[in-house]
Amino acid sequence: MAESIELLSLRSAQQGQILDQYRMNMYNTELRLSLLVKIMEEKGVLTQGEFEKRWPIFLKNDVGVLGPDGIMEGMLKINFYDGGVK
């Protein structure tokens, strides 16, 4: 991943900043993951409550993956709008 980021040509300083931010996020994610593994090794299985308390951002960003049918768990909401009346 890091190599492919390096391969991207930087067209502007703004894009450079975005890439830096991306690298930092990648680092943070990896860090959080390694900490999570550490906690799980120490404490055994983490309860949902403990997990949410410790890692709310992690939970928000990283949980929710594609199911066996290739569709994410959830449902589709179809909203009809007609001039402010839903």
Binding site: N25, N61, G70, I71, M75, L76, I78, N79, F80, K86
Partner: protein
Amino acid sequence: MTFETGHRYVMAEDVETQYRSIYGDCLGMSYPVETVYRPYKGEDLTQKRLMCWRTGGIGDIFFLNPVLMYLKKKYPNCFLRVASGCRQPLENMPAIDELYDMPFDAALLNDVDYHLMFQGIIEGSSDQSKKTHAVDMFFSYFSIDSLQIPAEDKKPKLFFKKEEMEWLKQTLPTLGIDDSNYVIGVQMETSAPLRNFPKEKFKTVLDVVSKEDKVKIILIGTSEQHEILSQYYKGNNPNIIPALKFDVRKSIVLTSRYDIVISPDTFMIQAAGALDKPLIGLYGPFPSEVRMKYFKNSIGLDPSVVCSPCFKHDFRGCIKGFPSPCFTLITIEDILQAIDYLKYKFTGSHFKYMETWLKTPDLSEVERYMLGADKGLCFFSGFFTHSNIIRVDPNKFFKPDIDDLSTEFKRVSFPFVLYMNNLSPKHQHLYQNTKNLVRPGGYLIVYVENGNEQLFNEIKKDFGQGLVLMFSKFDPNKRIVTVVGRKPY
């Protein structure tokens, strides 16, 4: 943009960084705008002058449109000067006295009474921006309570010049479009990969719709996107027209010819909404409600998953994959049905591809079980209606009586339950639960299209547990399975 020596210019920080990377120290020093900023906080604007500015993006500039119209209506004598990096949606607006591009000469700030800049209002991650429509956010930024303002006045409006309409008249024949065509405008790509709808799904939708009579599909994009957009359709399809040579303003003018618009979260949603065009918004990272609520004739498809809406404004892909996995919940069928729903609403006719959905099932042989004194439940009936059934279907396009499967039914038992056409593993538990809704002495009727003999035998075997088999039939030619069982007292 050319800069003149000795002049000061107002620009966003990231734009300054870009210019600095080109011009280096020739650009001179930069100051925060706060040193000259006289913010507007809702003061009386009678005989006053106000200047407001925002860099972009194009869609966001549309949100400014209703606020400016409101101000000019309330204070007809006020002077409004606007600057933007994307001025196209504001062009020809009678409410605006002067319109400039950004970066603009800081001298323009001197002869006005108040200033207002709009950077970071909707990009912020405040709770308000997650629940409030973007136009209401802009109103509140002007210290205006938008609660009492009618929805119609919160919708952006577009103003076209005579020359622009003339251009449209001349351009349409060159695109192969005449008055008899049903024109569908499709915006494929957004500025952020996070909001991009999966290409493959779009491709299938276009493939199906382009085969319909008189349909012309216009792919909206810029000339740089030629390579990307060519991936959205197969070969040389005469009904799919890439409109990539037009600038933003011309793309907006073209919108007035579309009969329907399909788009992810881009400026095209706002342009079509401003013109009251039938509109389908494909949303994921943002809820459609905060962008489309005030539009007429529009449908927002919103996946509801654990992380959506995530309200991310990033110019990167989703952390969980690309395209964003929340879009897996918007199926090709959903989009096709949404297109047909809007077409039927305005023209009174359906597309040909709707045949399978519109087909009326032949229930004559089992109808006698449906004629109880009381109404029965019917799951997944599609467009099929019967005077004695309460229709239950999560698909709102069929206008079922109950569209939320998690709703508790008002009664615990029904004289009959008709279960139609959906026995996928996902719905197995629902099928099992329907049995409990049959009252003792009542009937469970299962009608499955595209079935096979194995399924037929499995259903019969399942009926053996707790039901008395009354009728069973498998039509191998039409592949229709019909089984009726009676629940004993």
